[in-house]
């Protein structure tokens, strides 16, 4: 079920790369912003559901601010942009350490309790189920937006051909702003659920970011569908690795698949050669 959350992270990461060619290493730090905003909200006695909404809004705003306040001015230089997002990620991590300390914190679940799923013979937490449902609602809403509306379709179009988008009167600044907002909102949702289901610490973003990177490469850079399928593939491979090889080898099968994909299908399962000018 956590795979759907990883898909959210990977989709945000791949959309930002798709429309602007930016490898946003601060995307992981946005996950952390989401988790810590939720922590701060619930610590201040704000109800969990309201805290969750606040975390999503704050993370989306932070993502937009990162674009409008920094990336927008340097995005023509890929290397400088890449390095700047690394610096922002490290800076945000330090700020969180100063504010909250470096020890892991426990998040109050958005919804408490557990449920026994007879069909699969296992007991799961409601919050796991909620993470799955909310993630799929978000993915479904995004899919509708980018395939059925002019505004959303412009995002996909820009990821295929920037010049084509300009020729059809697409406002590239608006498309990029919307993309960073959506990616930020998705990172906020992911942050709350990963923080709840795994751990909330200033380093919590490293592993999801690495996984998102693997997912995007396997699924194909720029492909939303590829990100979703690859997220589930990675999820199953990690579970299989733990069951077959043991907990210490959790990432082994994923890495094997990653290497195989890079060798056999370098553009990924649903890779599309981007037509950036």
């Amino acid at each position: 079920m956590i795979s759907a959350v990883y898909a959210l992270i990977a989709i945000g990461f791949t959309m930002i790369f798709g429309v602007g060619g930016v490898l946003n290493l601060a995307h992981g730090a946005l996950i952390m912003i989401g988790a810590f905003t939720y922590l701060a909200a619930t610590s201040a006695a704000i109800p969990p559901f309201a805290g969750f909404l606040l975390a999503v809004v704050v993370t989306a705003a932070a993502s937009y601010a990162l674009y409008a306040g920094l990336v927008k001015y340097i995005e023509d230089n890929i290397v400088i942009t890449f390095l700047a997002t690394v610096v922002v990620a490290l800076l945000l991590t330090e700020l969180v350490i100063i504010q909250f300390g470096s020890a892991p914190s426990q998040l109050l679940p958005v919804i408490s309790g557990t449920i026994y799923l007879e069909a699969v013979g296992t007991r799961i937490r409601y919050v796991q189920l909620l993470a799955f449902v909310v993630s799929w609602i978000a993915i479904g809403a995004l899919w509708y937006y980018v395939t059925k509306t002019d505004e959303g379709r412009s995002i996909l179009a820009t990821s295929m051909s920037t010049r084509g988008a300009e020729l059809t009167g697409v406002d590239l600044q608006k498309v990029k702003s919307r993309t960073w907002l959506i990616a930020g909102a998705f990172a906020g949702i992911a942050g709350v659920f990963i923080g709840t289901l795994q751990s909330t610490s200033p380093q919590m973003w490293l592993s999801p970011l690495a996984l998102a990177f693997i997912i995007v490469v396997i699924g194909g850079i720029g492909s939303i569908k590829g990100s979703v399928i690859a997220a589930y593939l990675i999820g199953y491979l990690e579970t299989a690795s733990v069951e077959i090889l043991g907990p210490s080898f959790q990432g082994v099968l994923s890495l094997v698949v990653l290497v195989a994909i890079l060798l056999l299908k370098p553009n990924g399962l649903f890779g599309r050669e981007l037509v950036h000018e």
Partner: protein, 238 residues
């Protein structure tokens, strides 16, 4: 006499130390087909790129009286000046239908958009037959039709076509030719940049010849048709 729809005055473009366009001036009237001919690398595409706002330039370009230096490429499109590039710049993984819808993405007159969609499918029946086909899987000729169709979906007042016949089979060139004639009859202004001088001379009412970034000759169709240098160097008729 009506005001020109497009005026280019003393246009200069530099690529580093290379002086790509040297003081180009021309004026295009509403409803005419204006041809720009010249060899590969003469500066035709550079001129269109400057008009569309894709390269920096010196000089003045006015569209319907507005200095285009003051507006961005998106606004130029929204004002009805649409550019079909030589590379076509389609959305490769969108279907024909989605590519056409993208041409109209900024329009709010939804009923008129549907009418234009019907018009494009009627103008290019091959596109109608391939509505769901991805653009990247189409032939060069079909992609060219789609590029023109997408441009028409933007409800243009003026169309700039860069090498619309390059690499196309004669039968497809005839289809493009027929479409241009119909669009011209409907009053659309067309700026046609072509190495294929025969094609340009077939359609244009006035023309310019560009060589090494400069306009060497400008005049009417008759003047070009009767010019010995043009006939020998560009049309292949002696």
């Amino acid at each position: 006499m009506t005001d020109p729809i497009l005026e280019v005055e003393d246009l200069n473009v530099y690529y580093g130390k290379s002086h790509a366009l040297k003081g180009v001036s021309l004026s295009i009237d509403e409803g005419e087909i204006y041809g720009v001919i010249g060899p590969n690398g003469a500066g035709k595409t550079t001129m269109l790129n400057a008009i569309a706002g894709f390269v920096d330039y010196e000089g003045t370009i006015r569209y319907r009286g507005t200095d285009l230096a003051t507006v961005n490429p998106q606004q130029i499109v929204r004002d009805g000046l649409i550019y079909c590039t030589e590379d076509r710049d389609l959305f490769p993984f969108f279907s024909v239908h989605e590519n056409l819808l993208m041409g109209a993405q900024f329009r709010e007159d939804r009923d008129a958009v549907q009418d234009d969609l019907d018009m494009v499918y009627e103008l290019f029946p091959r596109l109608d037959e391939r509505r769901e086909q991805e653009a990247e899987t189409m032939s060069g000729g079909e992609q060219q039709m789609l590029a023109v169709g997408r441009a028409l979906m933007s409800d243009p007042d003026m169309l700039m076509l860069d090498e619309p016949t390059l690499g196309l089979a004669p039968v497809i060139i005839q289809d493009i030719s027929d479409a241009l004639e119909r669009l011209s009859e409907q009053g659309l202004t067309i700026l046609l940049a072509e190495q294929n001088s025969t094609f340009a001379l077939r359609h244009a009412e006035r023309l310019s010849l560009i060589e090494t970034g400069e306009i060497e000759l400008a005049g009417t169709y008759e003047e070009f048709h009767d010019n010995e240098y043009v006939r020998e160097a560009y049309v292949g008729v002696h």
